[in-house]
Amino acid sequence: MISRIVRYVVLGLLGIFWLLPIYLLLANASKSNGSFSGTQLWSAGNFADFWSNVIAVFTTTDIGSGLGASTIYAIVAPVIAVVLGAFVGFAVIVLKLKHGFVWFFVVFCGTVFPIQMMVIPWFSFSANTGLYDTIVGMIIIYSIVALPFSAFVMRNFFSGISESVFEASVVDGANVWQIFRRIYLPMSVSALVVVFILQATWVWNDFLLSLILTQSTARPVMPLLNALQGTEGGGPGYTVTLTAALLVSLPTAALFLFTQRFFQKGLALGQY
Protein backbone atom coordinates (compact mmCIF):
# COMPACT_ATOMS: atom_id res chain seq x y z
CA MET A 1 0.00 0.00 0.00
CA ILE A 2 2.64 2.50 1.11
CA SER A 3 4.92 1.45 -1.71
CA ARG A 4 2.13 2.23 -4.15
CA ILE A 5 1.66 5.75 -2.77
CA VAL A 6 5.41 6.28 -2.83
CA ARG A 7 5.48 5.21 -6.47
CA TYR A 8 2.75 7.66 -7.45
CA VAL A 9 4.41 10.52 -5.60
CA VAL A 10 7.87 9.87 -7.00
CA LEU A 11 6.58 9.46 -10.53
CA GLY A 12 4.34 12.49 -10.21
CA LEU A 13 7.16 14.77 -9.04
CA LEU A 14 9.57 13.45 -11.64
CA GLY A 15 6.91 13.93 -14.30
CA ILE A 16 6.36 17.56 -13.36
CA PHE A 17 10.11 18.18 -13.34
CA TRP A 18 10.33 16.55 -16.76
CA LEU A 19 7.69 18.87 -18.15
CA LEU A 20 9.35 22.10 -17.00
CA PRO A 21 11.35 22.52 -20.23
CA ILE A 22 8.12 22.09 -22.19
CA TYR A 23 6.67 24.94 -20.16
CA LEU A 24 9.67 27.07 -21.15
CA LEU A 25 9.01 26.31 -24.80
CA LEU A 26 5.31 27.06 -24.61
CA ALA A 27 5.74 30.19 -22.54
CA ASN A 28 8.21 31.72 -24.95
CA ALA A 29 6.34 30.64 -28.06
CA SER A 30 3.44 32.62 -26.62
CA LYS A 31 5.30 35.89 -26.95
CA SER A 32 5.65 38.22 -29.89
CA ASN A 33 9.09 38.88 -31.33
CA GLY A 34 9.07 42.24 -29.63
CA SER A 35 8.10 41.01 -26.19
CA PHE A 36 10.50 38.08 -26.06
CA SER A 37 13.48 38.79 -23.85
CA GLY A 38 16.50 36.66 -23.05
CA THR A 39 16.40 37.73 -19.42
CA GLN A 40 12.73 36.88 -18.76
CA LEU A 41 12.59 33.30 -19.93
CA TRP A 42 10.32 32.07 -17.15
CA SER A 43 7.59 34.66 -17.64
CA ALA A 44 4.46 33.30 -19.26
CA GLY A 45 3.31 34.66 -22.59
CA ASN A 46 -0.29 35.09 -23.60
CA PHE A 47 -2.63 33.15 -25.82
CA ALA A 48 -3.22 35.99 -28.25
CA ASP A 49 0.47 36.21 -29.16
CA PHE A 50 0.66 32.44 -29.42
CA TRP A 51 -2.27 32.35 -31.78
CA SER A 52 -0.87 35.08 -34.01
CA ASN A 53 2.41 33.15 -34.12
CA VAL A 54 0.52 30.05 -35.19
CA ILE A 55 -1.19 31.98 -37.96
CA ALA A 56 2.16 33.44 -39.01
CA VAL A 57 3.59 29.94 -39.27
CA PHE A 58 0.95 28.90 -41.76
CA THR A 59 0.74 32.14 -43.70
CA THR A 60 4.32 33.39 -43.87
CA THR A 61 6.33 30.17 -43.90
CA ASP A 62 6.22 27.19 -46.20
CA ILE A 63 6.22 24.61 -43.42
CA GLY A 64 2.79 23.30 -44.41
CA SER A 65 4.04 22.11 -47.78
CA GLY A 66 6.32 19.55 -46.18
CA LEU A 67 3.73 17.92 -43.94
CA GLY A 68 2.45 15.56 -46.61
CA ALA A 69 5.88 14.18 -47.44
CA SER A 70 6.79 13.84 -43.76
CA THR A 71 3.62 11.88 -43.10
CA ILE A 72 4.25 9.47 -45.96
CA TYR A 73 7.84 8.87 -44.89
CA ALA A 74 7.00 8.46 -41.21
CA ILE A 75 4.35 5.86 -41.91
CA VAL A 76 5.62 3.83 -44.85
CA ALA A 77 9.33 3.57 -44.06
CA PRO A 78 8.93 2.33 -40.45
CA VAL A 79 6.35 -0.24 -41.59
CA ILE A 80 8.82 -1.59 -44.14
CA ALA A 81 11.58 -1.57 -41.53
CA VAL A 82 9.37 -3.34 -38.98
CA VAL A 83 8.44 -6.07 -41.43
CA LEU A 84 11.99 -6.60 -42.71
CA GLY A 85 13.32 -6.51 -39.16
CA ALA A 86 10.82 -9.14 -38.08
CA PHE A 87 11.94 -11.22 -41.06
CA VAL A 88 15.54 -11.00 -39.86
CA GLY A 89 14.65 -11.90 -36.29
CA PHE A 90 12.53 -14.82 -37.45
CA ALA A 91 15.25 -16.16 -39.75
CA VAL A 92 17.99 -15.96 -37.16
CA ILE A 93 16.14 -17.18 -34.07
CA VAL A 94 13.26 -19.36 -35.19
CA LEU A 95 14.56 -20.79 -38.44
CA LYS A 96 18.02 -21.02 -36.93
CA LEU A 97 19.91 -19.58 -39.88
CA LYS A 98 23.43 -20.97 -40.09
CA HIS A 99 25.99 -18.46 -38.73
CA GLY A 100 22.96 -16.50 -37.61
CA PHE A 101 24.89 -14.21 -35.27
CA VAL A 102 27.27 -13.17 -38.03
CA TRP A 103 24.52 -12.27 -40.48
CA PHE A 104 22.56 -10.54 -37.79
CA PHE A 105 25.65 -8.56 -36.89
CA VAL A 106 26.08 -7.55 -40.53
CA VAL A 107 22.60 -6.01 -40.44
CA PHE A 108 23.18 -4.54 -36.98
CA CYS A 109 26.28 -2.71 -38.16
CA GLY A 110 24.03 -0.63 -40.37
CA THR A 111 23.41 1.43 -37.27
CA VAL A 112 27.10 1.71 -36.41
CA PHE A 113 28.31 3.79 -39.35
CA PRO A 114 27.89 7.56 -38.89
CA ILE A 115 25.18 8.85 -41.19
CA GLN A 116 26.94 12.16 -41.89
CA MET A 117 29.65 10.38 -43.86
CA MET A 118 27.22 8.33 -45.89
CA VAL A 119 25.08 11.21 -47.00
CA ILE A 120 27.42 12.43 -49.74
CA PRO A 121 27.90 9.02 -51.43
CA TRP A 122 24.12 8.54 -51.15
CA PHE A 123 23.62 11.88 -52.87
CA SER A 124 25.95 10.90 -55.70
CA PHE A 125 24.11 7.64 -56.19
CA SER A 126 20.65 9.17 -56.08
CA ALA A 127 21.64 12.05 -58.39
CA ASN A 128 22.96 9.64 -60.99
CA THR A 129 20.07 7.16 -60.82
CA GLY A 130 17.12 9.53 -60.81
CA LEU A 131 16.15 8.75 -57.24
CA TYR A 132 17.16 12.22 -56.09
CA ASP A 133 14.30 14.30 -54.73
CA THR A 134 11.76 11.50 -55.09
CA ILE A 135 9.35 10.18 -52.51
CA VAL A 136 10.25 6.61 -53.40
CA GLY A 137 13.96 7.28 -53.00
CA MET A 138 13.46 8.77 -49.55
CA ILE A 139 11.24 5.90 -48.46
CA ILE A 140 13.91 3.43 -49.52
CA ILE A 141 16.69 5.19 -47.65
CA TYR A 142 14.63 5.74 -44.50
CA SER A 143 13.61 2.05 -44.47
CA ILE A 144 17.23 0.95 -44.70
CA VAL A 145 18.33 3.32 -41.93
CA ALA A 146 15.51 2.13 -39.66
CA LEU A 147 16.13 -1.56 -40.36
CA PRO A 148 19.03 -2.38 -37.98
CA PHE A 149 17.17 -1.18 -34.88
CA SER A 150 14.09 -3.08 -35.93
CA ALA A 151 16.09 -6.26 -36.55
CA PHE A 152 17.74 -5.93 -33.15
CA VAL A 153 14.50 -5.54 -31.23
CA MET A 154 12.62 -8.26 -33.10
CA ARG A 155 15.50 -10.70 -32.88
CA ASN A 156 15.69 -10.28 -29.13
CA PHE A 157 11.95 -10.45 -28.75
CA PHE A 158 11.71 -13.69 -30.70
CA SER A 159 14.50 -15.18 -28.61
CA GLY A 160 12.17 -15.01 -25.64
CA ILE A 161 9.59 -17.26 -27.28
CA SER A 162 9.86 -20.94 -26.65
CA GLU A 163 11.08 -23.20 -29.44
CA SER A 164 8.21 -25.54 -28.77
CA VAL A 165 5.82 -23.03 -30.28
CA PHE A 166 7.54 -23.38 -33.66
CA GLU A 167 7.95 -27.11 -33.43
CA ALA A 168 4.31 -27.63 -32.56
CA SER A 169 3.21 -25.50 -35.53
CA VAL A 170 5.44 -27.44 -37.89
CA VAL A 171 4.00 -30.67 -36.62
CA ASP A 172 0.53 -29.22 -37.17
CA GLY A 173 1.41 -28.86 -40.85
CA ALA A 174 1.72 -25.11 -41.13
CA ASN A 175 4.31 -23.72 -43.55
CA VAL A 176 6.98 -21.28 -42.45
CA TRP A 177 5.26 -18.19 -43.85
CA GLN A 178 1.97 -19.06 -42.12
CA ILE A 179 3.76 -19.63 -38.83
CA PHE A 180 5.39 -16.24 -39.15
CA ARG A 181 2.22 -14.40 -40.09
CA ARG A 182 -0.32 -16.16 -37.90
CA ILE A 183 1.66 -16.95 -34.78
CA TYR A 184 4.82 -14.93 -34.31
CA LEU A 185 3.61 -11.57 -35.59
CA PRO A 186 0.49 -11.42 -33.40
CA MET A 187 2.56 -12.48 -30.41
CA SER A 188 4.95 -9.58 -30.83
CA VAL A 189 2.54 -6.67 -31.15
CA SER A 190 4.05 -4.55 -28.41
CA ALA A 191 7.55 -5.02 -29.83
CA LEU A 192 6.32 -4.14 -33.32
CA VAL A 193 4.58 -1.04 -32.00
CA VAL A 194 7.65 0.08 -30.05
CA VAL A 195 9.83 -0.21 -33.12
CA PHE A 196 7.26 1.57 -35.25
CA ILE A 197 6.74 4.56 -32.99
CA LEU A 198 10.42 5.06 -32.23
CA GLN A 199 11.41 4.84 -35.89
CA ALA A 200 8.46 6.89 -37.10
CA THR A 201 9.53 9.64 -34.69
CA TRP A 202 13.11 9.42 -35.90
CA VAL A 203 12.04 9.65 -39.55
CA TRP A 204 9.68 12.53 -38.81
CA ASN A 205 12.43 14.47 -37.04
CA ASP A 206 15.17 13.71 -39.57
CA PHE A 207 16.84 16.79 -40.93
CA LEU A 208 20.20 15.99 -42.50
CA LEU A 209 19.15 13.19 -44.86
CA SER A 210 16.17 15.07 -46.20
CA LEU A 211 18.16 18.28 -46.53
CA ILE A 212 20.74 16.66 -48.79
CA LEU A 213 18.64 14.11 -50.65
CA THR A 214 15.60 16.23 -51.48
CA GLN A 215 15.14 19.57 -53.13
CA SER A 216 11.52 20.56 -53.48
CA THR A 217 9.18 17.79 -54.61
CA ALA A 218 10.04 15.31 -51.92
CA ARG A 219 11.07 17.76 -49.21
CA PRO A 220 9.55 17.06 -45.78
CA VAL A 221 9.00 19.43 -42.89
CA MET A 222 12.28 19.49 -40.93
CA PRO A 223 14.62 21.12 -43.49
CA LEU A 224 11.95 23.77 -44.02
CA LEU A 225 11.69 24.31 -40.27
CA ASN A 226 15.43 24.58 -39.77
CA ALA A 227 15.65 27.03 -42.66
CA LEU A 228 13.61 29.48 -40.56
CA GLN A 229 16.59 30.04 -38.34
CA GLY A 230 18.55 32.47 -40.48
CA THR A 231 21.91 33.95 -39.54
CA GLU A 232 21.92 37.14 -41.58
CA GLY A 233 18.71 39.05 -42.00
CA GLY A 234 15.38 37.61 -43.09
CA GLY A 235 13.35 34.89 -41.42
CA PRO A 236 10.03 35.15 -39.65
CA GLY A 237 11.45 35.88 -36.22
CA TYR A 238 12.46 33.91 -33.19
CA THR A 239 9.13 33.26 -31.50
CA VAL A 240 7.41 32.31 -34.76
CA THR A 241 10.18 29.80 -35.43
CA LEU A 242 9.74 28.47 -31.91
CA THR A 243 5.99 28.11 -32.43
CA ALA A 244 6.63 26.25 -35.67
CA ALA A 245 9.04 23.93 -33.89
CA LEU A 246 6.35 23.07 -31.36
CA LEU A 247 3.61 22.63 -33.95
CA VAL A 248 5.61 20.11 -35.97
CA SER A 249 6.19 18.12 -32.78
CA LEU A 250 2.47 17.59 -32.22
CA PRO A 251 2.04 14.56 -34.53
CA THR A 252 4.86 12.62 -32.89
CA ALA A 253 3.60 13.51 -29.41
CA ALA A 254 0.15 12.33 -30.46
CA LEU A 255 1.66 9.10 -31.72
CA PHE A 256 3.09 8.36 -28.29
CA LEU A 257 -0.18 9.27 -26.59
CA PHE A 258 -2.40 7.12 -28.78
CA THR A 259 -0.25 4.00 -28.65
CA GLN A 260 -0.16 3.86 -24.88
CA ARG A 261 -2.67 1.02 -24.77
CA PHE A 262 -0.05 -1.38 -26.15
CA PHE A 263 2.12 -0.77 -23.12
CA GLN A 264 -0.54 -0.93 -20.44
CA LYS A 265 -0.43 -4.66 -19.92
CA GLY A 266 1.33 -5.14 -16.66
CA LEU A 267 -0.35 -7.93 -14.82
CA ALA A 268 2.57 -10.32 -14.88
CA LEU A 269 4.28 -8.74 -11.94
CA GLY A 270 1.24 -7.81 -9.92
CA GLN A 271 1.84 -6.14 -6.61
CA TYR A 272 4.96 -6.59 -4.65
Binding site: L24, G38, L95, K96
Partner: protein, 301 residues
Protein backbone atom coordinates in the same frame (compact mmCIF):
# COMPACT_ATOMS: atom_id res chain seq x y z
CA UNK B 1 14.34 -33.28 -31.01
CA UNK B 2 14.74 -30.17 -33.14
CA UNK B 3 12.66 -29.37 -36.21
CA UNK B 4 12.29 -31.98 -38.88
CA UNK B 5 14.38 -30.87 -41.84
CA UNK B 6 17.08 -28.28 -41.11
CA UNK B 7 17.95 -27.89 -44.81
CA UNK B 8 14.40 -26.91 -45.73
CA UNK B 9 14.37 -24.26 -43.08
CA UNK B 10 17.79 -22.93 -44.13
CA UNK B 11 16.42 -22.03 -47.54
CA UNK B 12 13.36 -20.42 -45.96
CA UNK B 13 15.66 -18.65 -43.50
CA UNK B 14 17.58 -17.12 -46.39
CA UNK B 15 14.35 -16.02 -48.03
CA UNK B 16 13.51 -14.10 -44.87
CA UNK B 17 17.02 -12.84 -44.17
CA UNK B 18 18.06 -12.00 -47.70
CA UNK B 19 16.27 -8.70 -48.33
CA UNK B 20 17.52 -7.09 -45.11
CA UNK B 21 21.11 -8.18 -45.58
CA UNK B 22 21.17 -7.17 -49.22
CA UNK B 23 19.77 -3.68 -48.57
CA UNK B 24 22.20 -3.00 -45.74
CA UNK B 25 25.20 -4.31 -47.67
CA UNK B 26 24.40 -2.19 -50.71
CA UNK B 27 23.34 1.00 -49.00
CA UNK B 28 25.69 1.05 -46.01
CA UNK B 29 28.77 -1.02 -46.67
CA UNK B 30 29.64 0.44 -50.06
CA UNK B 31 29.83 4.02 -48.69
CA UNK B 32 32.01 2.70 -45.87
CA UNK B 33 34.47 1.27 -48.37
CA UNK B 34 34.45 4.65 -50.11
CA UNK B 35 35.11 6.37 -46.78
CA UNK B 36 38.05 4.07 -46.10
CA UNK B 37 39.43 5.04 -49.49
CA UNK B 38 38.94 8.76 -48.77
CA UNK B 39 40.70 8.42 -45.43
CA UNK B 40 43.86 7.57 -47.35
CA UNK B 41 43.67 10.73 -49.48
CA UNK B 42 43.75 14.51 -49.08
CA UNK B 43 40.39 15.14 -50.73
CA UNK B 44 38.87 18.60 -50.22
CA UNK B 45 35.46 17.96 -51.72
CA UNK B 46 36.51 19.17 -55.15
CA UNK B 47 38.86 17.83 -57.77
CA UNK B 48 40.58 14.48 -57.55
CA UNK B 49 41.78 12.93 -54.32
CA UNK B 50 45.50 12.33 -53.95
CA UNK B 51 46.64 9.17 -52.21
CA UNK B 52 48.65 9.99 -49.08
CA UNK B 53 48.64 6.71 -47.25
CA UNK B 54 48.14 6.66 -43.50
CA UNK B 55 49.10 10.30 -43.01
CA UNK B 56 45.63 11.34 -41.92
CA UNK B 57 45.67 8.78 -39.15
CA UNK B 58 49.04 10.04 -37.94
CA UNK B 59 47.85 13.65 -38.03
CA UNK B 60 44.72 12.65 -36.20
CA UNK B 61 46.48 11.00 -33.29
CA UNK B 62 49.00 13.83 -32.97
CA UNK B 63 46.31 16.50 -32.57
CA UNK B 64 45.66 17.26 -28.88
CA UNK B 65 42.12 18.37 -29.74
CA UNK B 66 41.49 14.88 -31.14
CA UNK B 67 42.62 13.26 -27.92
CA UNK B 68 40.23 15.52 -26.00
CA UNK B 69 37.52 14.45 -28.40
CA UNK B 70 38.34 10.80 -27.72
CA UNK B 71 38.15 11.35 -24.00
CA UNK B 72 34.85 13.22 -24.23
CA UNK B 73 33.40 10.36 -26.25
CA UNK B 74 34.44 7.94 -23.49
CA UNK B 75 32.69 10.18 -20.95
CA UNK B 76 29.58 10.09 -23.11
CA UNK B 77 29.61 6.29 -23.21
CA UNK B 78 29.93 5.95 -19.45
CA UNK B 79 27.45 8.75 -18.74
CA UNK B 80 24.87 7.32 -21.12
CA UNK B 81 25.14 3.90 -19.49
CA UNK B 82 24.65 5.33 -16.03
CA UNK B 83 21.94 7.93 -16.44
CA UNK B 84 19.53 7.12 -19.28
CA UNK B 85 19.86 3.36 -18.89
CA UNK B 86 19.73 3.32 -15.11
CA UNK B 87 16.90 5.79 -14.79
CA UNK B 88 15.06 4.26 -17.73
CA UNK B 89 14.94 0.97 -15.90
CA UNK B 90 13.81 2.70 -12.74
CA UNK B 91 10.96 4.51 -14.48
CA UNK B 92 9.91 1.33 -16.28
CA UNK B 93 9.88 -0.69 -13.09
CA UNK B 94 8.05 1.94 -11.09
CA UNK B 95 5.29 2.41 -13.65
CA UNK B 96 4.88 -1.24 -14.55
CA UNK B 97 1.70 -2.80 -13.28
CA UNK B 98 0.64 0.47 -11.68
CA UNK B 99 -2.86 1.64 -12.42
CA UNK B 100 -2.47 4.55 -14.83
CA UNK B 101 1.21 3.71 -15.06
CA UNK B 102 1.34 4.12 -18.80
CA UNK B 103 0.02 7.67 -18.39
CA UNK B 104 2.68 8.46 -15.83
CA UNK B 105 5.23 7.52 -18.48
CA UNK B 106 3.98 10.16 -20.90
CA UNK B 107 6.01 13.11 -19.54
CA UNK B 108 9.15 11.06 -20.14
CA UNK B 109 8.17 10.20 -23.71
CA UNK B 110 7.16 13.65 -24.91
CA UNK B 111 10.77 14.97 -24.99
CA UNK B 112 11.67 12.35 -27.61
CA UNK B 113 8.79 13.56 -29.75
CA UNK B 114 10.14 17.13 -30.00
CA UNK B 115 11.74 18.40 -33.19
CA UNK B 116 15.48 19.08 -33.25
CA UNK B 117 14.87 22.83 -33.41
CA UNK B 118 12.73 22.71 -30.27
CA UNK B 119 15.40 20.70 -28.44
CA UNK B 120 18.13 23.14 -29.44
CA UNK B 121 16.08 26.13 -28.39
CA UNK B 122 15.02 24.70 -25.04
CA UNK B 123 18.51 23.68 -23.99
CA UNK B 124 19.90 27.04 -24.98
CA UNK B 125 17.16 28.66 -22.91
CA UNK B 126 18.09 26.54 -19.93
CA UNK B 127 21.86 26.38 -20.03
CA UNK B 128 23.06 29.62 -21.57
CA UNK B 129 24.81 32.08 -19.32
CA UNK B 130 22.11 33.77 -17.30
CA UNK B 131 19.56 31.40 -18.80
CA UNK B 132 16.54 29.74 -17.28
CA UNK B 133 18.57 27.48 -14.97
CA UNK B 134 20.62 30.37 -13.63
CA UNK B 135 17.51 32.52 -13.30
CA UNK B 136 15.81 29.74 -11.34
CA UNK B 137 18.82 29.27 -9.07
CA UNK B 138 18.90 32.98 -8.36
CA UNK B 139 15.20 32.97 -7.59
CA UNK B 140 15.53 30.02 -5.22
CA UNK B 141 18.59 31.47 -3.55
CA UNK B 142 20.71 28.47 -4.51
CA UNK B 143 24.38 29.22 -5.33
CA UNK B 144 25.80 28.48 -8.76
CA UNK B 145 23.78 30.93 -10.83
CA UNK B 146 26.99 32.45 -12.22
CA UNK B 147 28.21 29.15 -13.63
CA UNK B 148 28.90 29.10 -17.34
CA UNK B 149 27.31 25.73 -17.87
CA UNK B 150 28.31 25.28 -21.47
CA UNK B 151 31.70 26.97 -21.48
CA UNK B 152 33.70 25.06 -18.93
CA UNK B 153 35.03 21.59 -19.69
CA UNK B 154 34.26 18.90 -18.60
CA UNK B 155 31.18 20.47 -16.98
CA UNK B 156 29.67 21.19 -20.40
CA UNK B 157 29.99 17.54 -21.42
CA UNK B 158 28.26 16.44 -18.20
CA UNK B 159 25.52 19.02 -18.74
CA UNK B 160 24.97 17.80 -22.29
CA UNK B 161 24.78 14.19 -21.13
CA UNK B 162 22.07 15.19 -18.66
CA UNK B 163 20.31 17.13 -21.39
CA UNK B 164 20.30 14.14 -23.73
CA UNK B 165 19.04 11.97 -20.86
CA UNK B 166 15.93 14.08 -20.78
CA UNK B 167 14.98 12.39 -24.05
CA UNK B 168 16.75 9.08 -23.59
CA UNK B 169 15.16 7.99 -20.33
CA UNK B 170 11.69 7.78 -21.84
CA UNK B 171 12.83 5.68 -24.80
CA UNK B 172 14.72 3.25 -22.59
CA UNK B 173 11.80 3.01 -20.20
CA UNK B 174 9.55 2.03 -23.09
CA UNK B 175 11.95 -0.66 -24.26
CA UNK B 176 12.22 -2.03 -20.73
CA UNK B 177 8.44 -2.06 -20.44
CA UNK B 178 8.18 -4.24 -23.52
CA UNK B 179 10.67 -6.59 -21.87
CA UNK B 180 8.78 -6.59 -18.59
CA UNK B 181 5.58 -7.44 -20.42
CA UNK B 182 7.22 -10.53 -21.87
CA UNK B 183 8.21 -11.99 -18.53
CA UNK B 184 6.14 -15.13 -17.96
CA UNK B 185 3.75 -15.19 -15.02
CA UNK B 186 4.30 -18.69 -13.68
CA UNK B 187 7.89 -18.57 -12.48
CA UNK B 188 7.22 -15.23 -10.82
CA UNK B 189 4.13 -16.54 -9.01
CA UNK B 190 6.10 -19.54 -7.90
CA UNK B 191 8.89 -17.38 -6.54
CA UNK B 192 6.47 -15.11 -4.75
CA UNK B 193 4.77 -18.08 -3.15
CA UNK B 194 8.21 -19.17 -2.02
CA UNK B 195 8.51 -15.85 -0.17
CA UNK B 196 10.63 -13.76 -2.52
CA UNK B 197 9.59 -10.11 -2.81
CA UNK B 198 10.80 -6.61 -3.60
CA UNK B 199 14.53 -6.31 -4.21
CA UNK B 200 15.19 -10.05 -4.04
CA UNK B 201 12.43 -10.80 -6.50
CA UNK B 202 13.93 -8.25 -8.84
CA UNK B 203 17.52 -9.47 -8.73
CA UNK B 204 16.84 -13.21 -8.83
CA UNK B 205 13.85 -13.39 -11.15
CA UNK B 206 13.06 -10.19 -13.01
CA UNK B 207 16.53 -8.97 -13.94
CA UNK B 208 17.72 -12.19 -15.59
CA UNK B 209 14.50 -12.50 -17.56
CA UNK B 210 14.84 -8.90 -18.67
CA UNK B 211 18.09 -9.71 -20.44
CA UNK B 212 16.81 -9.40 -24.03
CA UNK B 213 15.60 -5.85 -23.32
CA UNK B 214 18.69 -4.93 -21.33
CA UNK B 215 20.85 -6.10 -24.19
CA UNK B 216 18.97 -3.85 -26.61
CA UNK B 217 19.09 -0.81 -24.34
CA UNK B 218 22.75 -1.18 -23.40
CA UNK B 219 23.84 -2.22 -26.90
CA UNK B 220 22.12 0.78 -28.48
CA UNK B 221 23.41 3.11 -25.78
CA UNK B 222 26.95 2.09 -26.55
CA UNK B 223 26.51 2.59 -30.28
CA UNK B 224 24.58 5.85 -30.03
CA UNK B 225 26.81 7.42 -27.39
CA UNK B 226 29.92 6.66 -29.44
CA UNK B 227 28.26 8.38 -32.40
CA UNK B 228 27.14 11.43 -30.39
CA UNK B 229 26.80 14.41 -32.70
CA UNK B 230 23.40 16.12 -32.80
CA UNK B 231 23.14 17.31 -29.23
CA UNK B 232 26.74 18.53 -29.02
CA UNK B 233 26.47 20.33 -32.35
CA UNK B 234 23.27 22.01 -31.16
CA UNK B 235 24.46 23.08 -27.73
CA UNK B 236 28.16 23.90 -27.90
CA UNK B 237 29.19 23.06 -31.48
CA UNK B 238 32.06 21.20 -29.82
CA UNK B 239 33.34 24.39 -28.25
CA UNK B 240 34.41 26.66 -26.85
CA UNK B 241 37.55 26.03 -28.84
CA UNK B 242 36.97 22.30 -29.30
CA UNK B 243 36.91 21.30 -25.63
CA UNK B 244 33.57 19.51 -25.80
CA UNK B 245 33.96 17.78 -29.16
CA UNK B 246 33.11 14.13 -29.53
CA UNK B 247 34.41 11.91 -32.32
CA UNK B 248 31.22 12.46 -34.30
CA UNK B 249 31.62 16.23 -34.09
CA UNK B 250 35.32 16.11 -34.98
CA UNK B 251 34.52 14.01 -37.99
CA UNK B 252 31.84 16.45 -39.11
CA UNK B 253 33.82 19.66 -38.66
CA UNK B 254 36.92 18.25 -40.35
CA UNK B 255 34.88 17.19 -43.35
CA UNK B 256 32.22 19.83 -43.76
CA UNK B 257 33.77 22.93 -42.22
CA UNK B 258 37.48 22.59 -42.82
CA UNK B 259 37.08 20.83 -46.17
CA UNK B 260 39.42 18.09 -44.99
CA UNK B 261 37.45 15.08 -46.17
CA UNK B 262 40.43 12.74 -45.79
CA UNK B 263 40.98 13.62 -42.16
CA UNK B 264 37.26 13.48 -41.39
CA UNK B 265 37.03 10.07 -43.04
CA UNK B 266 39.91 8.81 -40.93
CA UNK B 267 38.05 9.86 -37.79
CA UNK B 268 34.93 8.16 -39.10
CA UNK B 269 36.78 4.91 -39.76
CA UNK B 270 38.39 4.93 -36.33
CA UNK B 271 34.98 5.57 -34.76
CA UNK B 272 33.51 2.69 -36.74
CA UNK B 273 36.27 0.31 -35.69
CA UNK B 274 35.80 1.19 -32.03
CA UNK B 275 32.04 0.79 -32.21
CA UNK B 276 32.16 -2.50 -34.09
CA UNK B 277 34.69 -3.91 -31.63
CA UNK B 278 32.66 -2.82 -28.61
CA UNK B 279 29.46 -4.19 -30.12
CA UNK B 280 30.97 -7.54 -31.03
CA UNK B 281 32.38 -8.03 -27.57
CA UNK B 282 29.17 -7.02 -25.82
CA UNK B 283 26.63 -8.62 -28.12
CA UNK B 284 28.43 -11.89 -28.65
CA UNK B 285 28.36 -12.58 -24.95
CA UNK B 286 24.90 -11.23 -24.20
CA UNK B 287 23.11 -12.87 -27.05
CA UNK B 288 24.66 -16.28 -26.41
CA UNK B 289 23.72 -16.20 -22.74
CA UNK B 290 20.28 -14.87 -23.50
CA UNK B 291 19.49 -17.50 -26.08
CA UNK B 292 20.84 -20.33 -23.98
CA UNK B 293 19.12 -19.39 -20.75
CA UNK B 294 16.01 -21.24 -21.78
CA UNK B 295 12.85 -19.82 -23.19
CA UNK B 296 9.72 -19.62 -21.11
CA UNK B 297 6.30 -19.17 -22.53
CA UNK B 298 5.17 -15.65 -23.28
CA UNK B 299 2.53 -14.47 -20.78
CA UNK B 300 -0.94 -14.52 -22.18
CA UNK B 301 -2.51 -11.22 -23.11
Amino acid sequence: MTSSNPMRHQRAAWAFMGPGVLLVLLAMYIPVVYTIYLSLTDYTGLGTPNFIGLQNYVTMFRDPAFLTSLMNTAIWVVGTLVVPVGMGLLVAYLTFGLKGGSWLRIPFLIPYALSGVAIGVVFNFIFQNGGALSQALTFLGVPGAQTHWLEVAPLNTVVMILASSWQGIGVNALLFVVGLQSIPKEPLEAARIDGASGWRLFTTMVWPMLRPSTTIVVGLSIVNSLKTFDIVETMTQGGPNRVSETLGVTMYTDTFQSDQYGLGSAVAILLTIITVAASVIYLRRQLTIGDASGKGEVAEA
